[in-house]
Amino acid sequence: MSFFIETVLGGLMVGLLYSLIALGFVLIFKASGVFNFAQGAMVLFAALAMARFAEWIPGWIGIENQLVANTLAFVLAAVLMFVAAWLIVRLVLRHLVNQDIATLLMVTLGIAYFLEGFGQTVFGSSIYKIDVGMPKDPVIILEGVFEGGVLLNLEDIVAGLIAAALVAALALFFQKTSTGRALRAVADDHQAAQSIGIPLNRIWVIVWCVAGVTALVAGIIWGSKLGVQFSLALVALRALPVVILGGLTSVPGAIVAGLIIGVGEKVSEVYLGPYVGGGIEIWFAYVLALVVLLFRPQGLFGEKIIDRV
């Protein structure tokens, strides 16, 4: 029993991290109706910036203090993501107002390749580590209930709490502020949004900044677990089925779907894996997403597609 709980908890933690990346997709989709293929590249870029800045900063300012270095690196990396967001809107999206969705989609692919290449040119392409002082020790809880207790990673718990806080803040932002309403309006119709005085460019910069910060947080957490390297951009692929399962437009959907897939992956790997030769973890999420699509094309929480004919 305690092994099962450990598996589920482990799955929940991984799931939350998927949710974090999925959130980046959902944010940009909600605000511009574009599926942002560059989200993975943004995670990689942000994590690279964080890792390298933390390494370089002690040399620049001459203070050998990890906390100072990490804080400064975080701020610098966030500023870098803001600048990137501003540039993307200014140089690319601004010129594509009212264009076809396919055009915007291709553009995000272009942005993805550019960010991957540019990031590795500037920051290097080896494996780097991010050490933000996450507690690495395992803790054992519920010793009184089960024999041997339940083994937990403190790191995962901290990561989970950070993700949860970020998600709560975003939900508040979207549902309770007039900027949130403006964002939803822009997603529905660019032209109409402009005609009632919603500043399209400013809204886009805001969303890409928020998506950039989400990418940074996701990048730091994943990076401190796995190390920062090119494969981080591919973690975003693991988040794709999460987005589809949760519905492209739903912030809570991304969270719940992330948790479902995280737990599903781990449990199926551990309990079904031995019978089919293992490796379920890799495709489980996609199969689950496909099955959900059969019954609910808009995802679990997505806006129902209403079309009057």
């Binding site: 502020t177 309403r181 939803r184 032209q191 109409a192 402009q194």
Partner: protein, 261 residues
């Protein structure tokens, strides 16, 4: 309350608009006076929507000027137009489909919202009070347009006539001085058309807004507008009171065709 037609508020001078080799508008000039209902009519493809899009800043004319309350523009953006009190509705509906009727109209208040993001997210008393004030204003518009019953319905689910009303409501929420209506009665049945006419007259009367409207169907327009501009193939062929325009030879031939002997 007798409505008083004031001075010229919007003046278009020699506006020409081309898309490549296609001349959408050729040297069109006309003015709009404060508080009047000004119609732009013409057959299909006459350049009516282009004209509206020029006023609203969606298109930038190659030549000519727009003078708004004495201020000259050669270029305007939809956002600037909104800030300067010009609101519009759309011919092919452009509502925020996933949002409720109420949220659509609330979105129209964007420019009037003052409190900052943080205050709103945390529901500080000042921000909360502001939200309530806007909500009260929006409820007045909802009452005015008689759409109380569909307040919470996602607009994508509403029948066409009601969507048109929500579109009008969203434009009204901006508290515009000039309201541009792009074929407000297209695709409506007679009853819906009559309702829409009543709303337009009331908007003009109660909200004091200047109305510029495009229509395809001459009959309706003649009854409600003060002055009418007639366009054909991007050129102005008539301008004046409805009765004058109705007797204009060029207008009659544009609508009925010229006899070739």
């Amino acid at each position: 309350m007798a409505r008083k037609i004031g001075d010229v508020i919007l003046d278009l001078k020699n506006v020409s608009l081309r898309f490549g080799g296609v001349k959408a508008l050729t040297e069109v000039s006309f003015d709009v006076r404060e508080h009047e209902i000004r119609a732009i009519i013409g057959p299909n493809g006459a350049g009516k929507s282009s004209m509206l899009n020029v006023i609203n800043g969606v298109y930038t004319p190659q030549e000519g000027q727009i003078v708004l309350r004495g201020e000259r523009f050669t270029k305007m953006s939809p956002y600037q137009a909104a800030r300067r009190g010009i609101a519009r509705t759309f011919q092919s509906l452009a509502l925020f489909k996933g949002m409720s009727a109420l949220d659509n109209i609330m979105a129209g208040r964007t420019l009037h919202m003052k409190s900052n993001l943080l205050a709103q997210a945390l529901r500080w008393p000042s921000a909360w009070k502001e939200e309530l004030a806007h909500r009260a204003r929006v409820e007045e518009i909802i009452d005015f347009l008689e759409i109380q019953h569909i307040r919470k319905t996602p607009v994508g689910r509403l029948p066409y006539g009601l969507q048109k009303r929500v579109d009008l409501g969203r434009a009204l929420a901006l508290e515009p001085e000039i309201l541009l209506l792009d074929e407000p009665m297209a695709g409506m049945n007679l009853e819906e058309k009559q309702d829409m006419c009543r709303f337009i007259l009331d908007v003009n009367d109660q909200f004091g807004a200047t109305v510029v409207l495009i229509e395809h169907d001459m009959g309706v327009v003649m009854d409600i507008s003060d002055r009418v501009v007639v366009l054909d193939y991007g050129k102005k062929i008539g301008d004046g009171a409805p009765d004058e325009v109705r007797r204009n030879e060029q207008v009659i031939s544009a609508y009925l065709g010229v006899g070739h002997s």
